[in-house]
Symmetry: C2
Subunit: 376 residues, 2 copies
């Protein structure tokens, strides 16, 4: 069984579960560190597995397709062999990057024509070749090709787009069931709900997506600039429809508060660049609130990064030392901040699972969100 | 006893020894990783101590004086407490940085006036305040303030400069013996031989330097652009004079071949940014020779970075994967390459110590230098 529910919170939609793949299990709700181009920025796989405790990482199809390219990944025997990461992995469909990074993008019924942001070379993504590409990369969980609409987005555009995403899903699903994993490990394709911030489109999309015999379902096109309340509203609409028995993956979300709110609405999986990207810029998530370590007030604060004990790394370095490293542009500052933030996110999700199991999630969430969101 | 000789090679000047400080021992010949501004770039202290096996690291007085500044380091209780590194540490005098990095440098009998390369602020280094500064930083081995002459350098300039460095040494030494360690751990001041590429100046300088009751002696002003043969010639001149019973530290050197040649002339300590700086740019030192990992030929070479087993990190990652990371500008590429290169240097010096102990150093050195210097 791909997904097994293990506990439900009686005061909210929160639940715990276990996802089983050929490369190991994933306890949900789970946070998935982002390893864009085959590496979580600055962090070794040993650190990820043993110190941070990640059970799954994400890689970006768009980036890997462009560099190192499918030829190299294929010769290596897949991305797991290429990078040495042996635990579960998820790849996105490239849809988000095509619409946010690529140049000269041209959309058609067939797919997306675009130019590489690296060297300007021309490429085409289609629902079919994106399945093929993810077969070659070899992640355990793979995504259907979708159009990720921007925010704000006109209703008419969003409606046409979600319909295109649905037609693409039918084509991608067909390719998925007609092909097999290249490296002998079963892969699971998740379709993606779109529909921008329009409840009726989201509802229609969730209904359509639910009709596929997929192992899990994803929610895309959120956390692209809309207010958090809009995002929560859309997740609420969608999660009423997406089947209880399958994991729900909210793509690209978000802050600690976003994650806890969405867990309470029944989301099981999250990924976000925030802990690593914001960490590199000196923003630290702690049990006491959010720190901008560049702030002068930390210059002689010799207490640990997070006295709340949310991370091993955060206990080993003082705020003053980390501030010095970040202000001086020292690479180690980015590394320490990224590791701490990932440890914090992994700690937060573990804590959420524990609170759900104890039947105390709802109260705990409401008590910690104000503190976690506080800028100190 | 600060330094104890443990073996001498009968066919060369190579020797092994042990330096003892309050924070631990250092087996010589030793390579000292450079931790410029309180961090070896991109590498945690855990990695340095446990995986790389560094017994001592270097920090730069100039950089630390400017940022985070003496106030913060003093409040932290010294650089060891600030960074968490508990093993021996060495600080340079700032002389090299004042003459290579600082702006609007003005030299006088009193010392050096300069502007910070970071914010243009005005500062003054004198032989006395450089001792005081290194007392506050608290490294176990500290350096006298010197003028590091550039290459090429006119004879007259080099002669005047070496005499100034000697007068500065007398003043610095006076301050050193009149003051005490701030944090209760004994500090050892090394004077620095200068004299550019002029044998008679180097000889005079080595004789002058040797007249001080210092725990060890340093050789500066080499590896600044002169041919290796010139450097070896100067080290040969100097090492005939610097006492056998004290460690000899050749500052800022060098390639694996440079290090082995200078060990054979009786040098005991080395530091260099090469393994980390070149690593960040994709140059890897291996038992088979020097690799430019950006070269297209490595794109599908899935063998380990160094099949010769010189490093743990080098055994864990393939050349193709490291190439991908470096070419993609991924921070992890710089981290892996830096760690591998430092492991390689530490391995090389350990191997040198073993060969000296076995009485086989001279033959071994001559057999490995061509291979280690080979660009593959």
């Amino acid at each position: 069984m791909f997904f097994e529910l293990t506990a439900n919170d009686q005061y909210s939609g929160a639940r715990t579960g276990v996802i089983s793949t050929g490369r190991g299990i994933i306890k949900t709700p789970v946070f998935i560190p982002v390893g864009t181009a085959g590496s979580v920025k600055g962090i070794s796989r040993y650190e990820l597995e043993h110190n941070i405790g990640a059970e799954i990482i994400l890689a970006n199809t768009y980036h890997l397709y462009l560099r190192p390219g499918l030829d190299i990944i294929s010769q290596a025997g897949g991305l797991h062999k290429f990078t040495g990461w042996e635990k579960p992995m998820l790849t996105d469909s490239g849809g988000y990057q095509v619409f946010s990074l690529a140049e000269n993008r041209k959309l058609s019924e067939e797919g997306a024509l675009f130019r590489s942001h690296i060297d300007g070379s021309k490429h085409k993504f289609t629902p079919e070749n994106i399945v093929d590409t993810q077969r070659i990369i070899g992640a355990d969980i793979i995504m259907a090709f979708d159009e990720c609409t921007p925010w704000p987005c006109e209703y008419k555009y969003a409606m046409d787009s979600v319909e295109l995403t649905h037609r693409w899903l039918e084509r991608g699903w067909k390719r998925f069931v007609e092909t097999e994993a290249v490296y002998g490990r079963e892969q699971f394709l998740f379709p993606i709900v779109q529909g921008s911030v329009y409840g009726d489109l989201r509802k229609k999309s969730a209904e359509f997506i639910s009709s596929f015999a997929a192992a899990g379902n994803a929610i895309g096109g959120l956390s692209v600039g809309e207010p958090s309340e809009k995002m929560y509203e859309m997740v609420g609409v969608v999660n009423k429809i997406l089947p209880e028995s399958k994991p729900r993956y909210l793509m690209g979300v978000g802050t600690p508060a976003n994650i806890l709110e969405c867990i309470s609405m029944g989301v099981d999986m999250f990924d976000c660049v925030m802990p690593t990207r914001n960490g590199r810029n000196g923003t630290l998530f702690t049990s006491e609130g959010i720190i901008n370590i560049k702030n002068l007030k930390w210059k002689n604060d010799f207490s640990p990064i997070d006295p709340g004990g949310t991370s091993n790394t955060g206990a080993q370095y003082s705020r003053a030392y980390l501030r010095h490293l970040i202000v001086s542009g020292e690479m180690l500052g980015s590394v320490i901040a990224s590791i701490h933030n990932l440890e914090f996110y992994i700690w937060l999700l573990k804590k959420a699972r524990e609170e759900i199991t104890l039947g105390n999630f709802h109260a705990w969430k409401n008590s910690v969100i104000p503190r976690l969101s506080n800028k100190i």
